[in-house]
């Protein structure tokens, strides 16, 4: 089991630790609901050091990087971040990721923790010889500061210039004696920042940020309920190598005006039409749908739940799941079933939570 550089800080804070994607991670400190609500109302600090970072250098068109993702990396302005997917030849999602354009011919690619090795092999195998790729995951690490107060806290503790960052952009700032990236990104729906720093300085940065008493640590439990309230997919649960962005409702993150790996398969699928779609649904009670529960309609199984939880901001159960396309209509009533568990729910537009401050 791998640990992040912050393991001792989590233990000092009496975090409940649990395995996640091969890492021993803090799930909660004070409690998932308290941390969830605090993130929406104030600001929380998350240890995301387990995620992966690849540095790629070269002419994106010539080295094959332009074809690597569902989005174009060559039409991104320098200083811009972009979310999308890396696909296999069948259009299946190898990973969802965020690319940062550092310079004309330099990118940072941020990937999920459980897919670092797979992703690195996928990219390296397909990049042409004249490229340079480096897995910086062991030496570069990341903290997320999320919540409406995060701008004030960052401006005060790190640099007033951070406040000028627009949504999904980044810049380099001096942080604890090194110059590194801070981006205005995150996966909670709230105004927030992701800070990159050398692994050896992660503890120092964690403790520097927590000196601001408005900021509290939050674990992966709250991170999961926050992302689910926004209807965001979790890799390995809602999307994987066998699901395509068209099925997962991620079409807006695909730029079809260029070639990319998996494009032909997606065009074929788009022509035929997808058989299933990832939808969001809301329970009519506080009961929580769970991963693996069956989605039924008129007594027949028509789909499966991929993510489910109680939504602290909405006080009801919510979930994501794949459902036969014919039933994937907003407002359609469904019954979630597993053994004796029965939950009445209705298909709901995403995000479930609409008051997020991310773009403010």
């Amino acid at each position: 089991m791998q640990t992040t550089p912050l393991i001792n800080e989590h233990l000092k804070l009496k975090a409940k630790m649990a395995p996640f994607a091969g890492w021993n991670m803090p799930i909660q400190y004070e409690g998932i609901i308290a941390e969830h609500n605090y993130t929406r109302q104030a600001a929380s600090l998350f240890d995301i050091c387990h995620m992966g970072e690849f540095y790629v250098k070269g002419d994106a068109l010539n080295i094959g990087l332009e074809n690597m993702f569902s989005f174009s990396v060559t039409n991104m302005p320098i200083g811009k971040c972009r979310y999308g997917a890396m696909l296999n030849e069948n259009g299946g999602i190898v990973d969802d990721l965020v690319a940062y354009r550092i310079a004309k011919n330099e990118w940072l690619i941020v990937v999920n923790a459980g897919t670092i090795e797979k992703d690195f092999a996928h990219i390296k195998f397909r990049l042409k010889k004249e490229s340079y790729i480096e897995n910086r995951s062991p030496t570069l690490t990341k903290l997320d500061l999320q919540g409406p107060l995060s701008r004030d806290i960052m401006a005060k503790l790190i640099n007033p210039g951070v406040a000028n960052l627009k949504y999904y952009t980044f810049n380099h700032f001096d942080i604890l004696g090194e110059r590194n990236i801070i981006s205005r990104t995150g996966y909670t729906g709230e105004l927030g920042y992701e800070l990159y720093i050398s692994t050896g300085k992660a503890v120092e940065l964690w403790n520097l940020l927590l000196k601001d008493k408005r900021l509290k640590p939050a674990g992966l439990g709250a991170r999961d309920t926050l992302r689910l309230e926004m209807g965001y997919s979790l890799y390995g649960q809602d999307v994987d190598d066998n699901t395509t962005p068209l099925e997962a409702g991620l079409e807006k993150f695909i730029n079809f005006d260029r070639d990319f790996i998996g494009k032909d398969a997606l065009l074929r699928q788009r022509k035929i039409g997808v058989k299933r779609l990832l939808v969001g649904f809301k329970a009519d009670s506080r009961k929580s749908p769970r991963h693996g529960h069956s989605i039924t309609k008129d007594g027949r199984s028509v789909g499966i739940v991929t993510s489910g939880s109680f939504a602290p901001s909405l006080s009801c159960g919510i979930g994501l799941g794949y459902i036969e396309t014919a039933h994937a209509k907003t407002g359609e009533n469904i019954l979630i079933k597993s053994g004796d568990v029965e939950i009445n729910a209705a298909i709901t537009a995403k995000p479930f939570y609409t008051k997020g401050t991310a773009r403010s």
Binding site: G31, I33, S309
Partner: protein, 129 residues
Amino acid sequence: MNIPDDLLYTKEHEWIKIEGNKGAVGITDYAQSHLGDVTYVELPEKGKSVKQSEALAAIDSVKAASDIYAPMSGTVSEVNEGLESAPESVNKDPYGAGWIAKIDIKDAEEKKNLMDSKAYKQYLESIKE
């Protein structure tokens, strides 16, 4: 960890407070702490007959769902309807406002299958090892 002396306990971390032929049932401080934030309690129907160790109710926390087992056989005489709007009482006050149901006890002899507070404390220590 709070383990009151006047209750009896199961290995699945339920408690029962016996008064005459009635027993109030809930989950222990240890159980609520492990479950985390309780978000929903599926209460049993009044009049339901349950056997010792059979499922009596179910609890959802943010991360998991768990069955609650009957510490003793009996008939459900009362349920804690306050948990429908305030399931977090199970976390805040597991031995008080967080009680789940009361049963009319069918067989007082079944007490011998339960642990007193001292034995439950030892049991918790043994499972922590």
